[in-house]
């Protein structure tokens, strides 16, 4: 039965709002950083949510919001040049307009995590959505316990948010460790995949909530490392991306078994995912 009271004046969930690109710069060879704001009124969102970005004539793509809602005046996206829509976004300039729908998804459990020690394990551009919650925590620092960030990138030139990572490395109120998979002349830090950093922070893991985000292939290995370090499953959260198309739980593309990532994700508690074999 029809459960709503829609009429022709009701909101259309597929209609994008216009937003203006306020700033844009390349972070490296493939990732573009953008600051945007909606023309009508500021975007209201929670850490970990995503938006559907429209380029008229090309299409629409889901992009995680990289800023914290404590950051006012604009929201931030980082876009990899990976397909038609993102390629077009890379060609756009400051002042150009895009369509935005959202925000969608449930995001990070920011309130539930108050008082907890937090560990972030980020693989490559997995840092991008995690940063939304990291900066939220740093802007509400007294509300949270110890913060540890592990960042692993495939190679030196692909790193993102380099200046911010530098700042994090020098802050007194968090631990930041970085590694790259392949050695490079310019790199004097750790070499190895991000899981090689996990044994180094064993003391930080005890009692902490661990948030994992990275490329699909990474999750299995990180979860195995965390299991070896005896981190209970209910303390682990995974940020799972799928092909969000409509963003509103109708089109079916983003399903992980019975979950609709656009509705109850992308951040999932690992223990709660027990009945979703397609997840990892």
């Amino acid at each position: 039965m029809i459960e709503c009271s829609c009429d022709k004046n009701s909101k259309d969930i597929y209609l994008p709002e216009l937003a203006t690109i306020k700033k844009r710069r390349m972070m490296n060879g493939t990732e573009l950083y953008m600051q945007l704001e909606l023309d009508a009124s500021p975007l209201v969102y929670k850490p970990g949510q995503f938006v559907e970005v429209s380029v008229a004539g090309v299409g629409e793509a889901p992009i995680s919001i990289s800023s914290s809602p404590t950051q006012k005046g604009f929201f931030e996206l980082v876009v990899r040049n990976a397909g038609n829509v993102t390629k077009k976004l890379h060609q756009m300039s400051q002042g150009d307009k895009v369509g935005i729908r959202g925000p969608f998804g449930k995001g990070y459990p920011a309130d539930e995590m108050k008082g907890r020690d937090l560990v972030f394990v980020c693989g490559g551009i997995g840092l991008v959505p995690q940063r939304s919650f990291i900066n939220y925590v740093l802007d509400n620092r007294p509300d949270y316990g110890e913060v540890t960030i592990l960042q692993g990138t495939k190679c030196f030139s692909m790193r993102v948010y380099r200046e911010e990572c530098e700042q994090w490395a020098h802050r007194g109120d968090l631990t930041f460790m970085e590694t790259v998979d392949e050695a490079h002349d310019c790199w004097t830090g750790n070499v190895g995949v991000v899981t090689t950093l996990i044994p180094k922070i064993e003391s930080k893991l005890k009692g902490a909530a661990v948030f994992v985000c990275g490329p699909p292939v990474m999750y299995k290995f990180v979860l195995m490392s965390l299991a070896e370090a005896e981190v209970p499953r209910e303390d682990v959260y995974v940020n799972l991306e799928r092909r969000m198309k409509c963003g509103v739980g109708k089109c079916g593309h983003c399903q992980i078994n019975h979950h609709y990532v656009c509705q109850d994700g992308p951040v999932y508690n690992y223990a709660a995912l027990g009945t979703a074999p397609e997840a990892i």
């Binding site: 039965m1 829609c6 209609l15 004539g57 092909r243 198309k245 089109c251 399903q255 078994n257 074999p277």
Partner: protein, 352 residues
Amino acid sequence: MLTGNRNMSIKKLDRKALGRLIDGLIAANRNVIGVKAKGDRFAFGKLDSADELRLDYDVTLLPPRKYFQPQVETLLTFKVSDGYKPVDDSAEMILVGVHPYDMVAINQMDTIFSQDQCDKHYVMRRQKATIIACDVVNASKNVFASEMGTAVVREGYDVLLTDIGDSFVAEAATEKGEALLALAKGAADANKADLQKREQVWARNKAALGRHKLGCKPSDLPKLLEKAYGHAVWEEKAETCYSCGSCNQVCPTCYCFDVQDRLNWDLQSGQRNRVWDGCLLEQFAVVAGNHNFRKKRADRFRHRLYRKGMYVPAKIGGQIACVGCGRCVGACIPDIANPVAVYNRILEDIKL
């Protein structure tokens, strides 16, 4: 269930009277869509005359959901410089000849599209439709509605027609239906004997629309599937699966869609269209970077049946999202789509 509890008209219309009613609606430009012959098969299409209407059909090629979620539907138009405008091209229509199992599917789609974040495009089309359902006269080769509890339906339509031999019982279920029946001037009320004949049709259909026998109750399917994730049947069936998506295409409860932009020749304006998509198709779960989250055919085949038997029922209060129309059974070239065959194969090894 005899009359009385709805205070709505139940008329008796002989074939000529029904024909006159339909012709009257067509003449009044009411956009009458009904079941017509298409070669030796049947399909819903616009009626130019009541003579074209074939209420004795067994099953249509495509389900009537194509009128509420068209194969290609323009959601928005855009101008590159100006932004987006929503499109509402919904129109009044009268849909004649919807079988009970298809009506059940429409009822399920109504819930899906209007719950949570309401899909206005679907709702506008649905609200403008007047549905004249009709009980099955000839069972199709693969129908198993009897097994799924959808051989007879008593809600969702505006009028229900039941062929009782020499005439039809026509029952109004809504004000729209009542207004429609009022156009059949001089039609007598159905009497007790007519209604008894209707009960017999229902009893006959509840027994006869079961070409494939399910080895458990439909309500047991979620429990069965909980235990069947790793069963051999998925690989067995998928070995010959073409991933063609035919099962998705003909299914009344499949509604997954893709959204695509089309730019006009002027490179300035265009449309954003919603198009039917299918989870059996290989590209369905592919993301940027070319990672496919459901690469194996067996996984995609399994996913469709889990949606029907477990995931979608959880969203619609438990009703199984397969209405036993049998279209997928007929459409599948390697003949692996029959849900009953799959569930029965699982039941060989797994006890409830």
